[in-house]
Symmetry: C2
Subunit: 229 residues, 2 copies
DNA sequence: GCAAAAGTGTTTGCTCTACACCCATGT
DNA sequence: ACATGGGTGTAGAGCAAACACTTTTGC
C-alpha cells in the first residue's frame, strides 16, 4: 500500500533523549539498532511519524515500544532538518527530551528484538545519525533549564531528601553547591512539602523526606513567582 | 509529477513570526492569504518544506519571497504537529521567529500577489490555522529570552542611543525601567562600543550612539560571561 | 528662556556567599 | 566511641533598587 503526493516530502521522525539519574551519575537511555543504516550502533529511541498522531505522542509511543518507559516528563527539544543527517533520504526529526528517575526505572530489558541500556553521560559510544549532536543539544538544554524551571524533581522519586535534590543539581551543573545555601534557597521558595517521613536503610542519621508540590508551584507562578536556583 | 512513499507522511512547513519595533510599539509582520483555506485571512509568512533544503533555509526563502525580508536574525521557535491544525490534512510546521529593525524595513509592499503588513502586537486580527497560538508562543519566548540573551539589539539599527535600547526592553517586557540602573547595568557588561557619533534630527539634546560588539560578546561568553538584564 | 531628554552618584536594603559547629543515628 | 551525613546561624561583600539634580540642545 503506497501513498502518493504532488510534491516530494521529507520523512518525519520523533526521537527522545531520556535522562536518568542514580546515586552516581547522570545517564542516558540508548537503544541498539537492529537494521541498516547504522545496524548495531547505539541510537536514541524514536521512530517515524504517523499521520494523524501528534509528534509528542509518537515520541511517547516509540519510547514505550522500544524501552518500556511510560508516563515520563517529556518536552520538545529542537527540530533537526539537515538534509544529510540521514544517509538514505531527507529526514526531519523532532527531538524530545525526557527525565525519569532511575530508581523507578532500572536498566530496562529490551522489550522487542532490540536492546536498551543506560549509559553514563561521560561515556557515550559513537551514536547513529546525528544523534551525538542531538544528545549534546539536549544536555545543554537540561543544564540551562534546570536552574530556572523546577524540572530537577522529575529525576527523583516522589519523596526525596534534600541531599538528593542537591545531588541532582551538582551532577547536572557539574559543580559543588554549598549545602546550607542550597537548602535555604530551595526551602525559601516554599514549593516543597516537608513530609512526616524519613529515609530508610541508610547507614547514618536518616534525612527528612520532601515532596515537590506542583499545585502550590503553579499557583505561585500565576502570582508572578519565578523559580530560580 | 508525483511522489510515492510506502507510508503516509505528514506535510511539513516552515512559518516565521517576524517581530519589528518602531518608536511606538512592537509589531508583527503578517501576510494575507491568497488561497483557500483561510483565503483573505492574515497569516504568518511561511511555506512548504522542500526535500534537500534545511527548514531554516525554507523559512528564510519563504520570508524573502513573501515579504522581501532578507538576512534577518532567525531562530527556531517550536514545532507544531497537532493533526487538526490544518483542515486539509496533517501538516507539521516548524516555526521560527525573526527580529528586524523597522527603520531599515518599513512597511513592505507585497512582492507577489499577496500583501504584507506590520501589525501592532496588541492589535492582531484573527489569524489563519493555529497561527495565533504560534504567535503567542513566539511572544512568550521573546519576552523570556530578551533578558538573558543579547537579542534586543536585533530590533534596533546598527547604531543606537541607549534610550532606544531601554525602549526595546520596556516595550517587550511591558514595564518601565529605571534609566540610570539600566545604563549602569548594560554599560558594565562592556559589550557596547561607545561611538564618536550622536543622534541627528532630534528636537532636543542629541544622545551618544552605541553599537553592539558581537565579537567582544562572544569572547566574553567563552570566558563564562552570562548576559542578564 | 523654556521644553525635552541626556547624562551622572550615592545611599539603602537585600541577597548571595563563605564558613564551622553540634546533633542524631547506625555500626 | 566513632563515622557519616543531617541540620542549623551569622557576618561580610557585592549587587540591585530607589531616588534628584545638572547639563545640553533645539526651538
Amino acid at each position: 500500500m503506497n501513498y502518493t503526493y504532488r510534491h516530494a516530502r521529507p520523512a518525519v521522525t520523533a526521537d527522545c533523549v531520556v535522562f536518568g539519574l542514580d546515586e552516581e551519575d547522570l545517564k542516558v537511555l540508548l537503544v541498539q539498532r537492529g537494521q541498516e543504516p547504522f545496524q548495531g550502533h547505539w541510537a536514541l529511541p524514536g521512530g517515524f511519524a504517523v499521520v494523524g498522531e501528534a509528534l509528542e505522542d509518537t515520541a511517547r509511543r516509540e519510547l514505550a515500544e522500544e524501552t518500556g518507559l511510560k508516563d515520563v516528563f517529556l518536552e520538545q527539544l529542537y527540530t533537526f532538518s539537515d538534509p544529510q543527517r540521514d544517509p538514505r533520504e531527507h529526514v526531519v526529526t523532532v527531538a524530545y527530551y525526557a527525565l525519569v528517575n532511575l530508581s523507578d526505572h532500572p536498566v530496562q530489558a529490551a522489550t522487542d528484538a532490540r536492546s536498551a541500556a543506560w549509559f553514563c553521560i561521560d561515556d557515550i559510544p559513537k551514536l547513529a545519525f546525528d544523534h551525538d549532536r542531538i544528545l549534546q543539544t539536549a544536555y545543554e538544554r537540561l543544564r540551562g533549564k534546570i536552574t530556572y524551571q523546577p524540572i530537577g524533581f522529575e529525576l527523583l522519586p516522589e519523596k526525596f531528601p534534600l541531599r538528593m535534590l542537591q545531588g541532582v543539581y551538582e551532577k547536572i551543573l557539574d559543580r559543588p553547591l554549598d549545602k546550607r545555601n542550597f537548602r535555604k534557597k530551595i526551602l525559601s521558595m516554599e514549593i516543597l512539602e516537608e513530609l512526616d517521613e524519613i529515609e530508610t536503610d541508610v547507614g547514618h542519621r536518616a534525612a527528612r523526606l520532601y515532596r515537590f508540590n506542583k499545585r502550590v508551584y503553579d499557583d505561585k507562578v500565576k502570582q508572578g513567582f519565578i523559580f530560580e536556583l
